[in-house]
């Protein structure tokens, strides 16, 4: 069992390869090879289009993500109270499980005047907790604190809580929801209508005293 499979020595191999390459430099074969490469490049680009579109799929559907969600009978929210509610996100698959249940705070400042806050802290999205005794929202992550009307009280957030647009239909409270609020959807800080605000206040609470919603 004495097999002979001697490898060519590296130098020989290289010389051989070089000679072959040299011979083929300008020939039909090398032309065909170049065409072959070009065809592959073209096909590659062609295939990249659907791949990229597939990856960007969630981004391109962007506008469809918002819809009106029913939070139930508006009468169940007592004036002067802030209540934690939850709703099923409108764009959801069965296998999303509990992650599709989205919480929100409904504040009833006066009969019929509802403000719905996202639980996500305006700093980095942690869930703020409501303390009815001190009328404050406190964030467990980096210590952000908000007043009952959602405006910033202290800590690292640079603005107040995100608010959902609300409306009342047939006695039901509806909010426009469907995506996680961050500083870059319509929840972003927008210039307030009154220009007279001192800059400090503006930084602390974007539009104090207005009902302007900040989530979109």
């Amino acid at each position: 069992m004495d097999e002979k499979l001697p490898p060519p020595s590296p130098q020989e191999q290289e010389q051989e390869q070089e000679q072959l390459l040299e011979r083929d430099r300008i020939s039909r074969r090398s032309f065909l090879m170049n065409v072959g490469l070009a065809i592959n490049a073209a096909v590659g680009v062609l295939l990249a289009v659907p791949v990229v579109a597939y990856i960007l799929g969630p981004v391109m559907r962007r506008r469809e993500y918002l819809t009106w969600v029913d939070l139930g009978d508006a009468a169940k929210f007592n004036p002067g109270e802030t209540k934690l509610v939850s709703f099923r996100n409108p764009f959801t698959n069965e296998w999303d499980g509990e992650t599709a249940n989205i919480p929100a705070y409904v504040r009833t400042a006066a009969p019929g005047r509802y403000t719905v806050f996202a639980v996500n802290c305006a700093h980095l999205g942690c869930p703020v907790r409501w303390f009815s005794e001190s009328q404050l929202f406190m964030c467990p992550c980096h210590g952000g604190v908000y007043y009952a009307d959602g405006s910033r009280a202290s800590g690292p957030p640079e603005r107040g809580l995100f608010e959902y647009p609300t409306k009342i239909e047939n006695g039901h409270l509806l909010i426009e929801a469907g995506q996680m609020p961050t500083l870059s959807n319509r929840a972003a800080v927008r210039p307030c209508r009154e220009q007279s605000q001192p800059t400090l206040v503006k930084r602390i609470a974007p539009c104090p005293g207005t009902d302007e919603p900040t989530i979109g």
Binding site: P58, R62, T99, G125, F131, Y147, Q179, M180, R203
Partner: protein
Amino acid sequence: MSWYRRTYDWLERRLQLEGPIKDAVLHPVPKSTASWWYVFGSASAVLLVLQVVTGILLALVYSPSASHAWNILQVLNHQVPLGWFLRAMHGWGSNFMVAVVVIHMAQVFLFGAYKFPRELTWIIGVFLLLLTLGMAFTGQVLRFDQDAYWGLAIGASILGRVPWIGGQLVQLMLGGPIINGATLTRFFALHVFILPGTLLVLTGLHVWMVVKLGINEWPMPGRLVRRETYIQEYNELAHKDGLPFFPGAAWKDAYFAAAILLAVAICAAIFGPYGPTGTPDPTIINTVPRPDPPFLWIYTVLSYLPPEMETPFLLIVPPIVIAVLLGLPFVAGVGEKSWWRRPVAVFTVMFLAVCWASFTHLATSTPWSPKMNAWSGSPIPTAFLEHRTPLERQGANVFQEKQCRNCHSIGGSGGERGPALDDVATRLTEDQLIRQVLLGGGNMPAYGSTLSPPETTALVRFLNTLHPNYQPAASDASRAVAEQGGGPPASTVEPGNGQHKTQ
């Protein structure tokens, strides 16, 4: 010829691997590199292999489904025999890997190993570090619990701060408008295919270059790196004063690899697997999300930055840090390698190490977070209530009820967000206390709209008793003067805590 020799020959004639392997393993290295300082690179690779193996074993059971992942982790922890141990090995292996990779990086930095001709080895190393951190973060997500959910929320909120394309980036990261099943499958693909694939390829290149360019020699003060002469000098060092890598230097790597694997196993056996914490249900908002150990320092930084610095810090500092790391070998590619002659390098490492350690330590106690249940869980120690008037005691009630305790400690318990109030009366006069409570300020919310006038009075009366026996409460001299109709007060000492002794 024995049968195994014949089998070996038969295989070797076809594979022809003996030559390259011998070349790689027996290549001469400078004697000085056979040091315990040089074991961290190989240990990182060994830990990578451990992570791949334990990861594959976990993948036998895991399923990246948002509605099932958490339950499957419970099954792994409690039903699959030794499932808990493999989860623990993978989790602790991850911590060790991040640590060893960072130590390796600090070591090659201090030894000047990033200089000519090993610039590309360093650059790939920087990417290996980023990939390792990426693996740690995506791995935390696959442990689909509350921490994972809110970790994703933090990640998305950071991306949301990117100007113009932030919204698109968030959706790209989450795979949709919210954190849900699509998010988990994305992070599964990242953690199981994309990142480890890249990690393995780059590790291969990294090691290949170490073999081809030689292990960095022990730096000597005064032995400068010059592009013209370095290779020749190195080869002389390796051949004249060298030894074959195997076994001359490799035995230390082997010992250390075994030790580190054992350490991972011991930690896994003693401390067990990470979580999972509560289910990834966003409606459970009574949660205190915490990042995994490698990211605790970021958590501290984000808590202490002033609000207007958050976005610039999050968006500008990471690219700068990466650019500095990548640019390092081009800026300082030649010259002195020894740490004795590179004080800036040494102090940079020491400074970063101290910062990292103190930030991480702070993140374990999170003094910036309100203690959410201190108001109901930590009563005021009775020493602060003895010999108080009913009004003052009522004030203590208000103090407790209005959740002041969540941020202020008394007698050593309570939140640390605001200052401890054990002796607040020595710092603020009654008027100042009233003002501070009603208007807030200095990071304290205003309580003007939450406290009725009687509550405010009671609260401030209570706060005014908070001073040690030997030190009077602060008082406003001009007020005393006004109250007594002119003339200085007889004594500024007011009775305080333990007032029965002084009277």
